[in-house]
């Protein structure tokens, strides 16, 4: 069983779970030129975590998670432009805006299933994209929203040009999100989500309020995505239409599947591997990179559905079976 959680699971943090944080802190010291990329990776990990919650645990397939990412991004941007560049307020604004949208849309669409649900998720994100595209006075349309400054965090930590503050800011945010998601996954609520995913019919038959559970997790997932979006706006000091695009939703799916769905750390591994590889390869051969990603997705679906962590799991299992 790859999914964490349940009533016999040991929820204490295992030693290896500190590895990502050690690596992240190491990176800060030994690879300072990569910090802007690092911030982007950390942001995308939060985004991937939010998708994993609803997709890997809830079993809801969505093509439109960028609707919430983008809403959070634009909320933070608009706040910075019109009211204040205080970053923590911006994060709050992004999280709340996206969470609210997630609640409303979740209530509406989670009554449906199958193609209708898939279609609705795409329609919602297309709607948001179109609104942002046309409301140029607010969003800057195709040109995007920029030219705002983000004030120092808590008045103390100024955003520097090397991306050091941004990196640590994202790392702290990721830590909080990770802690929350991990709690949720190991909780009885998380266990019931697994139940809903594994057998929706039986969950109804044991008296679970399935719809309510899904709406709650969808809302939390949307809020987290919004937080990630706000983070992106603040660390890059820019919001563009891409944050609302179907293409971004697709890319996020690739990252998550690459790492492994339904296992918290798949959301860590996937974006890291994808974005680092993209940084190396895509600069020189952007089309070949895109082609390779597509092919990898096809191959993963055909042969390696558990993603990188799944392959590691199988490898470890094989090693253990070999006699000493």
């Amino acid at each position: 069983m790859t999914h964490a959680g349940g009533y016999i699971a040991d929820s204490r943090t295992r030693a290896i779970e500190w590895l990502p944080w050690v690596l992240a802190v190491l990176c800060y010291f030994i690879a300072p030129s990569y910090l802007p990329l690092g911030s982007y990776v950390l942001t995308m990990i939060i985004f991937a975590l939010s998708l994993d919650l609803i997709l890997g645990y809830g079993g809801i397939i969505t093509l439109g998670h960028s609707a919430y990412f983008g809403t959070g991004a634009y909320a933070a941007g608009l706040l910075a432009v019109h009211l204040t560049g205080e970053p923590l307020l911006g994060l709050l604004a992004g999280t709340l805006a996206a969470g609210l949208l997630g609640l409303i849309t979740g209530i509406i669409i989670l009554r449906t299933r199958g193609l209708a649900l898939l279609m609705l998720t795409l329609a919602i994100t297309s709607l948001c994209f179109e609104v942002a595209n046309k409301a140029t006075t607010w969003t800057g349309g195709v040109d995007g929203l920029g030219g705002f400054t983000v004030q120092p965090i808590l008045g103390l930590f100024k955003f520097d040009f090397f991306g050091k503050t941004a990196y640590l800011y994202c790392l702290a945010a990721l830590f909080v999100c990770w802690w929350l998601v991990r709690r949720l996954v190991y909780s009885p609520f998380g266990a019931s989500l697994t139940g809903v995913r594994e057998n929706n019919v039986r969950m109804h038959a044991v008296g679970a309020p399935v719809y309510q559970r899904l709406v709650i997790s969808y809302t939390i997932s949307a809020a987290l995505a919004g937080l990630a979006g706000a983070l992106l706006t603040q660390t890059t000091q820019f919001v563009g239409l891409k944050v609302l695009s179907f293409e971004l939703s697709g890319e996020l799916m690739v990252m998550l599947i690459l790492g492994g769905v339904g296992r918290i750390y798949g959301a860590f591994v996937g974006p890291l591997v994808y974005l680092v590889a993209q940084d190396y390869l895509a600069k020189q051969f952007p089309e070949y990179w895109y082609f390779g990603i597509g092919m990898m997705l096809v191959l993963v679906v055909m042969f390696a559905r558990g993603g990188i962590l799944g392959i590691i799991d199988t490898g470890l299992a094989r090693l253990r079976r070999k006699p000493a």
Partner: protein, 291 residues
């Protein structure tokens, strides 16, 4: 008043043309999704391919328009057959997530290839001389090509509906859409049926993409940009149905044209809003079968 009527006619006409193209492209998707239960998000790739093949043949090789259309249809139909046998068929029993991921992967691959081979700009469309210009009809001028589009599409649609209603192939498709397991036990070779139907659907998409190159520009981002509209046609019309998507496509074609003309600052907003409303009211689509 005259002006308003005039723009009304214009919107209806252009909306009709756009709607017909949407239908020709999307009908294959409706049938294959209803028949194989396969979520093929990459359907737009076939339409794009059709457009590229026709335009390359015409612009690059000087192939005459009718021949280029046929070439696009046949080439894409054949290629899709290969794809179906090699890849798609393996995933018929896989879950929805796998199918979604697989087809997204296909989209990525084809977008990359399109960019590599053709660059990022939309392909120029040079209509044959006999289809250029305007036609005078009922005291108004209509672009000849659009008239041709509508007439030609209607005949293809007619042929398709006749084929599905009257031929043995059509009967098998209808049976298999209604009861997949039953169809198999009655001796219908479902895998051959799937391949053939998939090829036809993809070929039609290619035809639609090629014919509609003037309305929906052929460029690498095509499958991403327009997927939502093809899916809307199918979802709102009803999976597996022929008439449903026809009505949906016309509605969308006219509504989209009307919105772009009269309230351009809202763009496609109303289409998406209406789609959400319809799907909430009838999740199986206007003409679909309730689960």
């Amino acid at each position: 008043m005259q002006d308003f009527l005039s723009s009304l006619v214009s919107v209806a006409f252009h909306g009709l043309a756009y709607g017909m193209i949407l239908y020709v492209i999307s009908v294959g998707l409706s049938v294959t999704m209803g028949l194989m239960g396969f979520v093929n998000l990459a359907h737009g790739v076939f339409a794009m391919a059709g457009g590229y093949i026709m335009l390359s043949a015409m612009n690059g090789l000087g192939v005459p328009f009718p021949l280029a259309l046929v070439a696009a249809f046949i080439a894409v139909a054949l290629a899709s057959m290969v794809l179906e046998r090699l890849l798609y068929a393996r995933l018929y029993t896989a879950g929805e997530l796998e199918q979604v991921l697989f087809t997204i992967g296909l989209i990525f691959m084809s977008v990359a290839v399109a960019r590599l081979v053709y660059g990022t700009l939309p392909q120029p469309v040079h209509l044959p001389d006999y289809l250029k210009g305007q036609l005078r009809f009922l005291g108004r001028e209509f672009p000849t090509y659009r008239v041709f589009l509508i007439v030609f599409s209607i005949s293809i649609v007619g042929l398709l509906w006749f084929g599905v209603e009257r031929t043995r192939w059509g009967a098998m498709v209808r049976a298999a859409v209604d009861y997949r397991a039953m169809a198999q036990s009655v001796g219908i070779n479902t895998s051959r049926l799937f391949t053939l139907t998939f090829a036809l659907g993809s070929g039609l998409a290619a035809l639609g993409g090629a014919l509609g190159a003037e309305i929906i520009a052929i460029q690498p981002t095509y499958p991403f940009e327009h997927l939502v509209f093809f899916l809307i046609v199918v979802a709102v019309g009803g999976l597996g149905s022929l008439r449903g998507p026809f009505v949906a496509a016309l509605l969308i074609g006219v509504a989209d044209t009307a919105c772009k003309y009269w309230v351009p600052e809202f763009g496609a907003f109303f289409i998406f809003f209406a789609t959400i409303a319809v799907l909430l009211w009838r999740p199986e689509g206007l003409f679909g079968r309730a689960a």
